[in-house]
Symmetry: C2
């Protein structure tokens, strides 16, 4: 029963994703999502209170995947510099998954500008990654692999660089090899972070 | 006569800017822009072939201001590392000017996704800054102030970091002091770039 519930949720998500991408968030109604997903309105509202909730769940799913990959990498690498390098290598697959969602991303930002609930949801991943990488950098400093920089500022630099690369990778996919650029950009920042006096 | 022409263009730009911000690009018509600017349709079309042209001119104006500041800084500083530090200091005023245009920025990205002409206009500043800073870094390497890094990759890192910071400064203006973050982020990258063996 639980499995069937999850299947229904996924069907709704996939259908909504497709319709948002094709027609935009505003032009997509719950009725259309239900029709495309092959579910009743009752089933829809059993799983999601609103169209906005589906929209937010779609973004959360994508972020949950990224976070899972990051956590796994952190467990499997020997120190912080190596973990950061490994995470930079994951950029290619992150961009690819994001590419499918490009118009959703855009809609997300536009809706965030108009709607405080979506704004909060749009901002929270940046704040999350800000603490996540500050924590990692703090750990690296304590363990002696990183210089005693300000962890919050260094994290902000990593997060901002990644966001800027993601934006460009989405808008100008053929402009350059964004996976290589990400690897080299993170490496350049690591050059400024890694402790050399030991 | 030329001065009056410029005044008219500015009035049209300002009125359009205000209406785009308030009601969105799609919902704003040439007739409304003319009414708000106090110009006739004839005068409008004398200066701009279309609503899109006004939209693009608005973005170009903002970029021209930024570029003017950058060029002046480059002339007035003794070497490339100092020029880059000085440019980072300009971030505060750039963000402030961009803040007024936040919704225009957003509209710009959304329209770029839909319209190839606007896409080209949206991408070209990134490509411009990419060459601009690669050239500067190349100069710094030749003059011996920077390490022999790949200028294109280093430039991409600077541009991407700046774009990511701008995005966050616009969407989360009270999240942190973005001017300080920009200064520290650029300084961190410079730490990885500056030549130390001399």
């Amino acid at each position: 029963m639980q499995q069937r519930s999850e299947e229904t949720r996924n069907r709704i998500l996939e259908a909504a994703n497709l319709l948002f991408s094709k027609n935009g968030y505003d032009a997509t109604g719950v009725a259309e999502i239900c029709e495309a997903a092959g579910v009743s309105k009752g089933a829809f509202y059993h799983h999601y209170p609103s169209k906005q909730a589906v929209f937010l769940a779609d973004m959360e799913n994508w972020l949950a995947n990224v976070n899972q990959g990051f956590n796994l990498t952190r467990q499997e690498t020997k120190d912080v510099p190596q973990a950061l390098k490994q995470m930079a290598e994951m950029a290619g697959s992150i961009y690819q998954a994001a590419d499918v969602h490009l118009s959703i991303f855009l809609e997300f930002w536009v809706q965030a500008y108009r709607d405080p609930v979506i704004w909060k949801a749009a901002i929270s991943p940046y704040r999350h990654y800000q603490s996540y990488f500050a924590e990692m950098i703090r750990e690296g400093i304590e363990q002696g692999s990183l210089r005693p920089v300000d962890p919050d500022h260094a994290s902000r630099t990593l997060v901002s660089l990644s966001l800027g690369l993601l934006m460009q990778a989405l808008f100008d996919p053929t402009g350059t090899d964004w996976q290589v650029e990400t690897r080299d950009g993170i490496a350049l920042i690591l050059d400024g972070l890694i402790r050399r006096d030991i």
